[in-house]
């Protein structure tokens, strides 16, 4: 299956596993696209199909269509107010959409029959402001959803939590409270908390934007590791270094539209849209 955006309504049409569509035709209308860098098979992990969203009369998303294949790392970038955070929040229905459809791991997000809590429990999300629960210790932060949502026994949840805490290098802080940790440490705990739910896909909403510069690296390191292990990731970020290093594809958004959806090499090599060129020249200047 290609991860190239296709015009609706064919975008969510299931494609039989193994049937890899030749996608280098470059004949699509709409956003400028390029073929996916990896050969992924089966239906996409995330399919965003012709999604529009309004806040009152103000349209924040306009006909957004894209897909994320299993194991793919997609970076979403664009100027502030371009709708990239909104788009990623629509994927696990934290924000409702008024038009279009999103499918995550074969489950329709916009469907009354969908068990949203269940869907969300399989979609890890990391927020700009960490959003650890300040009244709970780090251990409790890592285990509370495992116990309440997945109904794991306390022992198993704790073991899982501690393993992940060790993975992000913070075992020594298990009994502390979020307020006692630095921003970078809190964000690493937040990533561990999301991973504890065994997610099939991870969403990152500007995970490093609220951090002091010296803490950005430690969080990105964890994310790079995750990407190398084959986690499917959709990352809203301004960290172009991260995008260059691990992204398969880069989506560029402006004014609520997906302006460019390209392979990393193409995006950084020769972005085809003028707006993406301007954005890149600004962001890479410093």
């Amino acid at each position: 299956m290609t991860s190239t955006p296709m015009p609706a309504p064919t975008a969510t049409t299931p494609v039989a596993p193994g049937s890899v569509a030749p996608s280098d035709s470059g004949l699509q209308s709409g956003p400028l696209t390029s073929p996916p860098p990896r050969i992924a098979t089966g239906t996409p992990m995330i399919a965003i199909d012709n999604v529009s969203k309004w806040y009152g009369d103000f349209q924040v998303l306009t006909n957004c269509t894209t897909q994320v294949a299993k194991g793919e790392v997609v970076v979403v970038c664009g100027p502030s107010g371009s709708g990239k955070s909104t788009l990623i929040k629509c994927v696990n229905a934290l924000e409702p959409i008024q038009k279009g459809q999103i499918t995550v791991n074969d489950t329709k997000v916009v469907d009354k029959a969908t068990d949203l809590p269940k869907l969300r429990s399989r979609v890890g999300m990391v927020f700009q402001h960490f959003e650890l629960f300040p009244h709970l210790s780090i251990t409790e932060n890592l285990t509370v959803a495992q116990r309440k949502v997945l109904k794991r026994p306390a022992e198993e949840a704790k073991k899982k939590g501690m393993d992940l805490l060790a993975r992000v290098g913070l075992s020594a802080h298990a009994d502390k409270y979020p307020g006692q940790l630095s921003g970078g440490q809190q964000q690493r705990v937040a990533i561990a908390r999301a991973l504890a739910m065994n997610p099939v896909v991870m969403l990152f909403d500007e995970p490093t934007s609220a951090l002091d510069p010296e803490m950005v690296g430690e969080v990105l390191d964890v994310m790079v590791e995750l990407a190398k292990e084959g986690m499917t990731m959709m990352v809203v970020t301004h960290e172009m270094g991260f995008a260059r290093k691990v992204a398969d594809r880069v989506i560029f958004m402006d004014r609520g539209e997906i302006v460019e959806d390209a392979r990393k090499e193409d995006f950084f090599g020769q972005p085809r849209s003028e707006r993406a060129q301007q954005f890149l020249s600004k962001i890479l200047q410093h």
């Binding site: 934290l94 809590p117 869907l119 969300r120 959003e131 629960f133 959803a145 307020g179 006692q180």
Partner: protein, 230 residues
């Protein structure tokens, strides 16, 4: 003038004043506060919910209770509760409701309106990102409220809830209209019997002041300790 005072009457009646009067006052305060906070929290959640009917019922209830004098509400409930009970149970005669039960129900319902406004502010003080994070982990609305929002809201609002409880402690003296004997009522009875009105009412004032002032002091100390580090 003070030479005529006889404070001996106070010491003689201490067992009655505290053993009967104060125990009643504290019991009523504790029960009404506990139940009032629970009901108030539910009202606050109803008011903050998007459900149109529920939201408005809660709003009307809170506004109504806050606009009526407590004494009036106590009276009304004392006379109405037997009939409401009869209506609910389908009995043909007004049901028997003791004065204490009636007072407890009244104070609970009345204080719930005030507690709900405090809890509403508490729930609103929790950043939206916290509920977002809870939902993103797959929690339901109930799980989100119980494990994430309410514990933090309650903690943030604990000083205000306790301050309101101190006010309630003083307001329980209004049960005299139902001929119930709280601390002030007990003092009043002794005062009438022994003809020592000034002494007994002075003593009652001192006791109320001492209890409420030290409670406020403790609340302020607590306030510094429970503040969540963010």
């Amino acid at each position: 003038m003070f030479s005529n005072f006889d404070f001996g009457v106070v010491f003689g009646s201490l067992p009655y004043l505290f053993g009967t009067g104060m125990v009643f006052t504290v019991t009523l305060t504790a029960l009404a506060a506990g139940m009032g906070v629970v009901l108030g929290t539910l009202l606050a959640m109803a008011r903050l919910s998007g459900v149109p009917g529920l939201k408005h019922v809660a709003k009307v209830y809170v506004e109504l209770m806050r606009s009526l004098p407590l004494v009036l509400v106590i009276f009304w409930f004392y006379f109405l509760v037997p009939y409401i009970g009869a209506y609910l149970t389908g009995a043909s005669r007004p049901i028997q409701v003791g004065a204490f039960s009636s007072a407890l129900i009244t104070f609970t319902l009345f204080e719930a309106a005030y507690f709900s406004e405090i809890m509403r502010a508490g729930i609103q003080s929790i950043p939206k990102g916290q509920t977002g994070a809870a939902y993103a982990l797959g929690m339901t609305y109930a799980q989100t409220m119980i494990t994430v929002v309410l514990p933090q809201a309650f903690r943030n609002m604990l000083p205000l809830l306790l301050t309101q409880t101190i006010v309630l402690f003083q307001d329980t003296s209004l049960v005299y209209v139902l001929s119930l004997t709280d601390f002030l009522g007990a003092a009043s009875k002794v005062a009438q019997r022994d003809g020592r009105l000034v002494e007994m009412y002075l003593f009652a004032a001192v006791v109320y002041f001492a209890v409420c002032f030290s409670a406020s002091f403790l609340v302020r100390r607590l306030q510094r300790r429970v503040a969540i580090i963010r």
